[in-house]
């Protein structure tokens, strides 16, 4: 077995990692002229807490059989996972420059091919939770202790395949499965409320037989407590509804439908970077 330990002084704390995810992805969507920066900014804190404090996985052994599985089902926010993987040592940070560019394998929707640490390729919504349920079922069957975390979007909950998996996971008591909903309340064209109402959302998951916790999706301490689901011997899967702000961290992108698709260019790019610079000085750790 490989030595999985990483020197503590080389590790970022989750706040630093979240800021780096935001900065990298503003740059990546700017250079790649790509969409979905709002979706990445929305989940950046969740991803940072997961990668820094929760997931038992190691960059020097990405296929370690006992690792916690992490699936980004809202694959359009793949840039944020590429950034998190690079910043936690899975591959060189320089590679992020290739995102969405000609000839690149770093496509706009997350892909596993040639990218260590990506568990599942997604992009069409409603695919991650069924696959995660299958992994969790296998883990139970083989008496493994890994957990399966699946990050889904709120708009994604329109997809019926999710509800098939939600029934399945509860029926089979997949307590090693944790679904996290990035509930920013804005989907592709309009708000969730205007498009297809999810409320009463927590009650729906509970009625389907899941443990449900609601949390401020930008509060790292609260996220850390909620996400640290340790029991794989329990009787129900867990849903964490993370209340978030789409575009979080860049004032003019917050709570805006526009930034689901818009790519930051020109003055908007400069302004976004400036906001992230002054939020906290992480310049020394940026390898840009």
């Amino acid at each position: 077995m490989l030595n999985h330990s990483i020197p503590e002084e080389n590790q970022l704390d989750s706040n630093e990692l979240a800021l780096l995810i935001r900065k990298h992805t503003v740059l990546m969507t700017h250079r790649g002229k790509s969409s979905h920066i709002g979706s990445v900014l929305s989940m950046a804190d969740i991803v940072a807490v997961l990668f820094r404090n929760i997931l038992r996985k190691f960059p020097n052994d990405p296929c370690w059989p006992e690792r916690d599985r992490f699936i980004l089902s809202k694959g359009h926010a793949g840039a944020g996972i590429y950034a998190a993987l690079a910043e936690t040592g899975y591959f060189s940070i320089d590679l992020l420059e290739q995102h969405c560019r000609r000839g690149s394998k770093f496509c706009g929707h997350i892909s596993h091919i040639g990218i260590p640490g990506v568990e599942l390729s997604t992009g069409s919504l409603g695919h991650g939770l069924p696959v995660g349920a299958g992994m969790a079922y296998a883990g139970k069957l083989d008496n493994k202790f890994f957990r399966v975390f699946v990050l889904i979007s709120d708009g994604e909950c329109d997809e019926g395949s999710n509800w098939e998996a939600i029934l399945f996971a509860a029926h089979h008591r997949l307590s090693n499965l944790i679904a996290i909903v990035d509930y920013n309340k804005i989907q592709s064209l309009a708000s969730v409320e205007e498009t297809l109402r999810l409320e009463p959302f927590a009650e729906k998951w509970r009625a389907f037989g899941w443990n449900v916790a609601e949390v401020d999706g930008h509060d790292h301490d609260a996220l850390g407590i909620c996400l640290d689901v340790t029991s794989v011997a329990g009787k129900a899967p867990t849903c964490i509804i993370a209340h978030t702000t789409k575009g979080k961290g860049v004032s003019f992108m917050e709570n805006s439908v526009l930034w689901h698709y818009r790519s930051p260019q020109g003055e908007e790019f400069d302004a976004a970077m400036a906001e992230l610079e002054i939020t906290r000085d992480c310049e020394s750790k940026m390898a840009d």
Partner: protein
């Protein structure tokens, strides 16, 4: 075919505890024995094919060899994108099994007519597509797809099919099986219609038309060498399938013939022309209605020969 598949799969699963069988709540009475004997390897996911295919992918990515089982278009078209993105893109070791190819469930209506599945499955990258011609081929195909890592689609009949092969033919995915090899006309057949192809050959032989028959059980990969070989030795090639003539065996053979640089014989695609069936009935009846009875196949061949002045 269904029983032959389940029998062989049960033998495989007994020996390999990593083999799992998932059903979308179908297989009444057929899967009971498997479920009772191997409960840890059996999972009825409910009437939820998208989830079945996603769960199968997750299990396969964790090292299982997973068979998904349902009927007609349910394990294929209903969850097509899960097959494409989850199973095929991840090269997951998932074997999709559909019972009731063609008009097996003829009386149940168009929802249960699996008549475009081969064309659609054939277009997916990384997916092996096989449709055995009889019970012997079904047993051999089940073993073969188990032994072939990666995504496979196995299209079967339902039950009551005759056994065509009298012995155990050499079987390999990607290789057609010759049944009769001497003749001016070549019948290339895929799936359970093989029996009618052989009966059509008997009719043609009685008319003095020497006819070969090949079981093209493997649609992807296709036996291109066999098609090239047959194109050199035949005056007419006819493909026979209980499936649309668009994109199935007829389409696949046409693609090969069209790109040959050598002279090639004409092709007749015998199968279903575009459109939904406007009537129902049992399989034999619908085969007659849509020109797939032995007589109708033989007539199509003879008509084509007359039209093209082939003697």
């Amino acid at each position: 075919m269904r029983d032959a598949f389940v029998r062989v799969l049960t033998e495989i699963a007994r020996a390999d505890k990593n083999v799992m069988l998932l059903t979308g709540d179908l297989g009444f009475g057929v899967l009971t024995k498997f479920a009772e004997e191997l409960p840890r390897q059996y999972l009825n996911v409910g009437v939820a094919e998208q989830n079945m295919t996603g769960v199968a992918t997750g299990l396969a990515l964790e090292g299982k060899t997973v068979f998904t089982y349902s009927i007609g278009n349910f394990p294929t078209l209903r969850c097509l994108e899960q097959i494409r993105n989850d199973v095929c893109y991840h090269n997951a070791n998932v074997k999709i099994v559909s019972i009731g190819g063609g008009f097996c469930y003829g009386a149940l209506g168009i929802s249960h007519h699996a008549t475009e599945d081969l064309a659609i499955m054939r277009a997916l990258p990384n997916l092996t597509v096989v449709a055995p011609g009889d019970l012997t081929e079904t047993a051999l195909a089940t073993k073969a797809i188990y032994a072939t890592p990666g995504p496979c689609y196995l299209r079967l009949g339902r039950g009551g099919e005759p056994n065509v092969h009298l012995d155990h033919p050499a079987y390999a995915i990607g290789k057609g099986i010759p049944l009769f090899t001497e003749g001016d006309v070549a019948l290339l057949s895929i799936g359970g219609i093989l029996d009618n192809a052989i009966k059509a050959r008997t009719i043609l032989e009685l008319q003095g038309i020497r006819t070969c028959v090949y079981s093209m059980h493997s649609l992807q990969p296709l036996d291109i060498d066999l098609i090239k070989c047959v194109s050199l030795s035949s005056k007419l090639i006819a493909t026979i399938e209980e499936h649309s003539i668009v994109g199935g065996l007829g389409g696949a053979v046409a693609e090969v013939l069209a790109e040959l640089s050598s002279p090639r014989p004409p092709l007749v695609r015998i199968g279903l022309t575009a459109g939904f069936s406007c009537v129902v009935g049992d399989q034999e009846y619908l085969r007659e209605v849509y020109g797939l009875s032995p007589d109708a196949i033989a007539n199509r061949v003879q008509d084509a020969m007359r039209r093209m002045h082939i003697s």
